[in-house]
């Protein structure tokens, strides 16, 4: 079927603008998510033809839904009102059998959207196995945040008494959390047993956030607690991030660590040392170490940094070599192409620099600043070219 019919049986002309029947209760009628969605599109000012094109469902499917809605008395033709509908409405039909689809579960009145229920797949989609999602925590609930503050210090007493729109329980909580911060132990800060798993950590973090995040007290005059809140939230946020970070690619903190370094770790160490040398004003030294790092791990980031360093060390050929390799690895990164153009320029290869810049400018980038820099570079290169071509 390649078009919208001019007429639909039992409904009439598709040029009509139908509206929802305000007396119709969608929840009790057992509508499916799709039925509800289509029903929600009826606003009295859109023609049926337009509506059928707007739903995003195949036309036949949309028409079937419209017919069903009409049959249930859910929609009104122009000129009809709920009274006339009540007269002609049939009792709600049982939802027609559809594979794996369920009627809307009972929801509290304020929930506007029906929950997502497992739906039949419309095509062969490879379904990845998923762990069952638990709507209710199977584990013990996260520990409650601290509610008492023993032996308040003078500073704490002052804070508890100061003029602030924050209530006493909240102030106590924040001051107690600030105490925990002093312990320097992320587990104690979050209040979870050491070694708790990611899920438990997340639950605790979320629960604490609700009481600690500054947004919770938006618009209130907080006095000294504004800064305290921010401080405490940042602390728990960092603690959560640290404790849930994947440990597998963490570098050894201690250079005398007994564990063997992987090549990647070694390369990182070399790279950092090279950067430090460069920044300290010893580019020639740095270049040697960059070279070593790249030999272990030839990633684009190291190559780019090395190229930049080579330019600073007045080694254009070396810079060109590194830049070419980096550009080959990141052909779609205008920044890398720009670096290559700089290297060509330093090597006196102006036509090549111009070419690279022009092509780099064709790459679409988020970065307006970079786009501008490319144009500036191009103008400069062209100026030099004009001069070198001489008069």
């Amino acid at each position: 079927m390649s078009g919208i019919p001019a007429e639909i049986q039992d409904v009439g002309s598709t040029a009509q603008k139908l509206a929802q029947n305000p007396a119709f209760d969608p929840l009790r009628a057992g509508l499916s998510t799709e039925d509800y969605f289509v029903w929600s599109r009826f606003d009295g000012t859109t023609s049926l033809k337009d509506l059928l094109l707007m739903t995003g469902f195949p036309v036949e499917h949309a028409i079937a839904i419209v017919k069903r809605l009409r049959g249930l008395g859910a929609i009104l033709l122009p000129g009809e009102n709920p009274q006339t509908m009540a007269a002609r409405a049939k009792p709600p039909e049982a939802a027609p059998a559809r594979p794996a689809s369920q009627p809307i579960a009972k929801q509290p009145p304020r929930d506007p959207d029906p929950p997502t229920v497992p739906r039949a797949r419309t095509g062969p989609i490879p379904q990845q196995p998923r762990p069952p999602s638990s709507p209710m925590p199977a584990q013990p609930p996260p520990p409650d945040p601290p509610t008492t503050l023993d032996n308040p210090t003078a500073e704490e007493k002052a804070a508890l008494a100061e003029a602030s729109e924050l209530g006493a329980p909240e102030r106590t909580l924040i001051l107690a959390m600030q105490r925990r911060m002093k312990l320097g132990d992320p587990w104690a800060l979050l209040g979870v047993p050491r070694g708790s798993d990611k899920k438990a950590l997340k639950r605790t973090y979320f629960k604490l956030s609700k009481d600690i995040h500054p947004d919770r007290y938006y618009g209130k005059k907080l006095g000294s607690f504004a800064a305290r809140l921010s401080e405490v939230f940042e602390a728990i946020s960092h603690a959560y991030a640290d404790l849930t970070e994947d440990k597998t690619d963490e570098r050894p903190m201690n250079v005398h660590d007994q564990q063997a370094q992987t090549p990647a770790e070694y390369a990182t160490e070399l790279f950092e040392r090279a950067c430090a040398q460069e920044v300290a004003g010893a580019p020639a030294e740095a270049l040697k170490i960059f070279d070593a790092a790249i030999r272990v791990d030839g990633q684009a980031r190291y190559l780019k940094r090395a190229a930049g360093c080579a330019l600073a060390a007045n080694e254009p050929r070396v810079a060109e070599d590194y830049a070419k390799k980096a550009a080959a690895l990141e052909p779609q990164d205008p920044s890398t192409q720009r670096l290559l153009a700089r290297a060509f320029r330093a090597a006196g290869k102006l036509p090549l620099a111009e070419e690279v810049l022009l092509m780099a400018m064709q790459i679409r980038t988020e970065n307006d600043v970079l786009a501008k820099e490319l144009r500036t570079d191009l103008a400069e290169v062209r100026r030099l070219l004009a001069r070198s071509q001489g008069y």
Binding site: M54, V59, D113, G123, I125, Q127, D215, R216, E366, V369
Partner: protein, 612 residues
Amino acid sequence: MASDKVIGIDLGTTNSCVAIVEDGTPVVIPNRGGYKTTPSMVAIAENGKRLVGHIAKRQAITNAENTVFAAKRLIGRKWGSAAVRTSLETMPYRIVEGPHDDVRIMLRDQVFSVPEISAFILQEMKLITEEYLGEEVQKAVVTVPAYFNDAQRTATKDAGRIAGLDVIRIINEPTAAALAYGFGRNIERKVAVYDLGGGTFDISILEIGNGVFEVISTAGDTFLGGEDFDRRIIDWLVFGFQKEHKIDLRKDKMALQRLKDVAEKAKCELSSVRETEINLPFIISTGRNEALHLQTTLTRDKLEELTADLVDRTVDICAKTLEEAEIQKSEIEDVILVGGMTRMPRVQQVCAEFFGLEPCKGVHPDEVVALGAAIQGSALTDEKNDILLLDVTPHSLGIMIVGGYFHKLIEQNTTVPTSKSHVFTTVKDNQTSVKILVLQGESDRAEENELLGEFVLTGLRRAQRGEVEVEVTFHISADGIVSVKARDLETGLEQSITVTATSGLTEDEIKKMIDANKDYMIEVRSGQEFDKARHGAERVLDEVETLFPQVSEIISGSDFGQDAVKKARGVVERARTAIANRDLTSLNDATEALSRTLNMFRGVVSKTRGPG
């Protein structure tokens, strides 16, 4: 008088939508015509009148050069950016360079900044709400694409200010969608929001639990949206026509506008049918005054072929985002589709294939963002709403260090509020001051990142390089406001700034625009008030004029009666004149007099009816 309520506005590239939380339920506010979305279009008509929304869209073809659409692609952009260059080539309205390397738009003989244009649309959404609620609103939460940088966000906030709105928060569109999806439901899961709208593509990964919505990672492409899909169709039509008639339709602005309209329509239709007719009679005339027609058929397969790389690009971005967030596809339990383009079957299919599950269709792709914005507005201001959004900074922040490199202090996708400190040293002997350039972006080179602000810390001790230590602390508030502090660790001397990127407008310019708009707002309001007064007056006028002949007959017998009739006629004249001049004050006065006249008339008539 003004309400404390906060509205949520989805300021879209193609369409905008406004919502509010009413008695604990978020609802979209329809406009007078019953529409739940309003086209993001602004035009200046021939008589100089400003048109916004549906009206602007309806006259877009005949007034193409003076109708602005997709202003969102230009907001906060620098003049030299790729977005501006593309728009210069494809937009029928005039785009010119502004004084601060920014962008201005010329309509008829007026020049507008882009935030001003967006302000007109925001103003329209404000009026829609006020008509619905019957009270003034001043606060709003406005959404932006996740990938918008600081300049684009600031420009959006400026637009709100010009429109008379206090934008209390800017949140990302996919985040807003997740809020609407999870509102009122007790769920604990990781979700992906796939947002393919009119102008931009955004993908966000969020973790929801216990009413807390945590953004884990967010990325996007501001050059990828429905407009790009339209452009592929236009290019295909133009190319075919060019082959046959050797004419480039894009050179004719009217033709281009009609092509744009028909391309968008065809694209939407092909979501439901397998092929659609494209019919453009009299699309252009040849040199010999001969009219040419364009008629062809576009199939769904062909459209998918033309746009395959665009759809693939969204998948690439999804893959990269998951990788950076270190999350497996299998951990995502729901995919929420947002934006009109997600109605395209191929997009849904590709999405389902990538994530390995059917995307959630229980949310309305055009309304969900506004609903989410309204929910966040309510969460911030209503005690009873305890939803919490843990948002992230979308771009890395750092400073420039020696060598012109960019040292990141706060990584992209870090939860806010957040602080980070780092100790730096001097690079020259006897260096007594250090310049801090605050930058935002991901490039290694400082000059390729966006400069948010700069300041200088002076009074450092004279010493060998590397001996003096300066601690730089970055802080980002929950509001997204960046402040930077630099402290000489030895003397304790401190210097700090709160940084905001410039949107290309100075404070003075913004103030001028707000004032100019205030006048317009008053004018519009009294327009509404005037209409109400007019209806009231006309009702009384009708009755007075109906009774006039009878009354005249009854009382003209006496001198006083004749004078009274003359006066009554004068009152009617005054009322009619006030209506013709749209003079609200005079009309109110005249209506008062009319009511007295009517009272008198009724009295006269009922006296004579009398008993018997």
